[in-house]
Symmetry: C2
């Protein structure tokens, strides 16, 4: 079969299509014929050597959708040929609060991932594709969707009528946080330094879209005009510091990333305003199942662009340039 292999962490240019054996499956695994996959920042970081515990060579890819090629054992409700989507969180464990650090991992390193014609995954990670989604749309949701679901609902506990601030809209996760927030009956405020992304976010339902580059005092402004109940942030650093300023007394801030680096935060507004900061990453099996349920209700993820697997290097380049809005998908023939 064809697979996109990474031999050395020399950046996306080091990715190459290779002929490798179709994986063999165990009794507790399924073989999936991948039809579409999607890129995550994690994949890019691994090509760049910027990820903990890199083991090469490997087939990258956490997100994938396709048909069941074979099942290691009989599973109720699934059979060969069914369209499915893969939960990329392997071995989360029994604790809904956090994954099992000793036994969990994410599909696509160390375990070979979805940027290939076939992938072998545990049976418990195979889910029926939501009926209303194309395979390309389904491939766009796994990691971003479970991260967004957990951030907004499981950790953020959003309620109808609340105001949610989504900082740095544009990436795969934040675009889904926006969709989910509107679906949940919340008011959504988004920030970006790109007017084009703000326009896209407005079209997806954002109630207020703020360019943080041209409005440096946005946090102060929001505090006085539009109290924020919940912030969902993937940047950390200065963004987290401002979120503590912006959020209303008793408000919550969910953080699932740290692209801005360390955050220097003032203690007084944190304790005096009774603010809660909730760290989160990926999602549990429960989060994944609940997220799929949302997509049974007419939602569609935002697909930025679809590339052929053979054009993966260009797809990674687009991700690296941060120009996308929504998910970058690979079609796998």
């Amino acid at each position: 079969m064809r697979a996109l292999r990474l031999d050395q962490p020399t950046g996306p240019a080091g990715l190459r299509i290779a002929e490798v054996p179709v994986p063999e499956i165990r009794d507790d695994e399924a073989l999936i014929r991948v039809r579409a996959a999607a890129l995550n920042r994690r994949d890019l970081f691994i090509t760049q050597g910027l990820y903990a515990g890199i083991r090469l060579p490997v087939t990258l890819g956490s997100d994938g959708a396709g048909e069941i090629g074979a099942l290691g054992s009989v599973v109720a409700g699934l059979r060969a040929g069914d369209d499915v989507v893969i939960d990329p969180m392997l071995g989360w464990g029994e604790d809904p609060r956090v994954w099992d650090p000793a036994h969990s991992s994410i599909l696509g390193m160390p375990r070979d991932g979805t940027f290939a014609q076939y992938v072998a995954v545990p049976l418990e990670n195979v889910h029926r594709k939501p009926a209303g989604l194309s395979l390309e749309e389904a491939a766009a949701i796994p990691l971003a969707g479970s991260t967004a679901y957990r951030a907004l609902f499981t950790r953020g506990a959003v309620r109808p009528g609340e105001t949610v601030l989504i900082t740095g809209v544009g990436g795969g996760v934040q675009s889904l946080v926006l969709l989910f927030a509107k679906h949940a009956g919340a008011r959504a405020i988004v920030t970006s330094s790109s007017d084009q992304k703000l326009e896209r976010a407005r079209a997806l339902g954002a109630d207020l879209a703020i360019n943080y580059a041209t409005n440096p005092d946005w946090a102060k402004l929001l505090r006085s005009t539009s109290p924020v109940d919940l912030v969902v942030d993937s940047s950390g650093g200065d963004s987290l510091r401002r979120a503590i300023d912006a959020v209303r007394p008793g408000g919550r801030i969910v953080v699932y990333g740290g692209t801005n680096g360390d955050a220097t935060i003032k203690m007084f507004p944190l304790f005096w305003k009774h603010v809660t900061i909730l760290g989160t990453s990926m999602g549990s099996p429960r989060d994944f199942a609940a997220m799929l349920e949302l997509f049974e209700n007419g939602l569609h993820p935002v697909v930025d662009r679809v590339f052929e697997l053979a054009d993966a290097v260009a797809a990674f380049g687009r991700l690296d340039a941060k120009g996308q809005f929504g998910k970058i998908v690979l079609r796998v023939d």
Copy 2:
């Protein structure tokens, strides 16, 4: 009546006993004959001019216990002469998540407080003294007790069998967090730079007492030997940074102060470990009532030393030197 007055924020030395009129009460207030009061760091900060919105002259004092002198209206279960303790949180409001920023305040500035023979307070802030406590013990619990209760239970959601790390044990709040944690069936780890305070904490039930000055790697040590479910911290700064290191995956950190200043925190352990940071200060009416309930069950607060009201300057000096363990109480004849 005699009252301890502060005319200028020139430090505790500026406090003086003065003869002032007994306060008049409205229909919705009670007049309390104070028998004992207790010091909080807030009182010290106000004498030093280190508090927001200082309005002078004033009678300081948030904590007090004594007898009802008069009631503005009939209240079920209360009558003149009853021993009572005062909830110093005035006008919290309807939201259990946070006080009403527009209408709430703390007794003892701007409203005249408990360092006097009489104090007028809203009827709803008057509570029967727990039967097993002396008036001096009762005076030691209001602000520290409701802060500790809210930190450990309402915000921290401690459960029996969990391990709680109490950083910088010694102050009034942290000594009550220790008592409450043991009462709740948790395991308690305390830190301090004073071996004497660590010894006192052990005597109060601490299961492990760590001198952080002589064990700079305590956070790392705990992570590998004694996973911490919940941290209760009043310092912020470096202490919060280390708490994020020390706490177990999925753990919680409650912060109710910031004596160490700003905290520079790393994003990765925050989101990767699914850590929750919960800011809190003071307690709601519900927290106060639940805290009193705990003291009906045989608990006693830690009273460091009892001073006469006339010796208040010496009492403040002891608080300022941070040599105390537990609450510093003033007896009011």
